[in-house]
């Protein structure tokens, strides 16, 4: 297949997340990943990235935007999610699986992205994350 690219520009409003994820899934269908990898791993991973960008990166400010860049080719999808925030250091986020963190209601988003996607990369500033999901490189999920 010919590689495909698409860009979504979103307001920093959590009510747009589900629809944006469905649009991204539709765009990525041509990668021909196994159905549950696209419909589960990718949907959850992208939801987490958008949620972090809107709530933490942009501080929920509806005047700010989130940019989603999709790159799709056979057997691989890439989604780069960029917010207008000042970034953060993802390596400082505690492991939610530690016994003292299991009863906490928060702190699982980055862990889930890393667990469900094949690659998760942040830029140096920490306001842009790239998710990569491929066919057949990791069991689902």
């Amino acid at each position: 297949m010919t590689p495909r690219a698409a860009v979504l520009e979103l307001p920093a409003d959590i009510s747009v997340i589900e629809n944006a994820v469905e649009r991204a899934v539709h765009c990525c269908a041509s990668a021909r990943l196994a159905r549950n990898r696209l419909m589960f791993n990718f949907r959850v991973g992208l939801t987490e990235a958008l949620s972090n960008a809107i709530l933490y990166g942009n501080g929920g400010d509806p005047q700010k935007r989130v940019r989603v860049e999709l790159r799709v080719r056979s057997g691989e999808v890439r989604a780069r999610v960029t917010d207008e925030g000042h970034g953060f250091d993802p390596d400082t986020v505690p492991d939610p699986r530690l016994p003292e963190n299991i009863p906490r209601p928060d702190g699982r988003g980055i862990f889930l992205m890393r667990a469900l996607m094949d690659e998760v990369h942040y830029n140096e500033l920490g306001n842009s994350v790239t998710l990569v999901l491929r066919e057949g490189t990791r069991p689902a999920p």
Binding site: E18, N19, N36, M39, F40, I54, P105, L112, P141
Partner: protein
Amino acid sequence: MDHSDNPGREGTMTFNVRKVGGATVISVDGQLIVGNRQELKQKVLAELERGARRFVIDFTRTGYIDSSGLGILVSLSRSIRQERGDLRLASLNDDLRTLFELTKLDTLFEIHATLRDALAD
């Protein structure tokens, strides 16, 4: 600021509440994610305030759950326990079940394979 005050705007999700025997069963039809988690919380807490103590959340028709959805389940579990109540989860598909295992939340919740099992004493 609470960023989750727009329940229902997603349009593809419903939470159906019904009584089965002495239990309050809440079915999650669609996704349980950051955009609708507060609606589930409000429904469960309203039932808790009315005196309900035994809750089952049925995931038979659930597509996916994100970390905010997991977080609201943790929060509700705590609220229900504080009132000496009981929260059970039922009918998670393999993907959803794996989410709970990956995060070790399967150690926090009572998870049943079917709604019928969850409703049994």
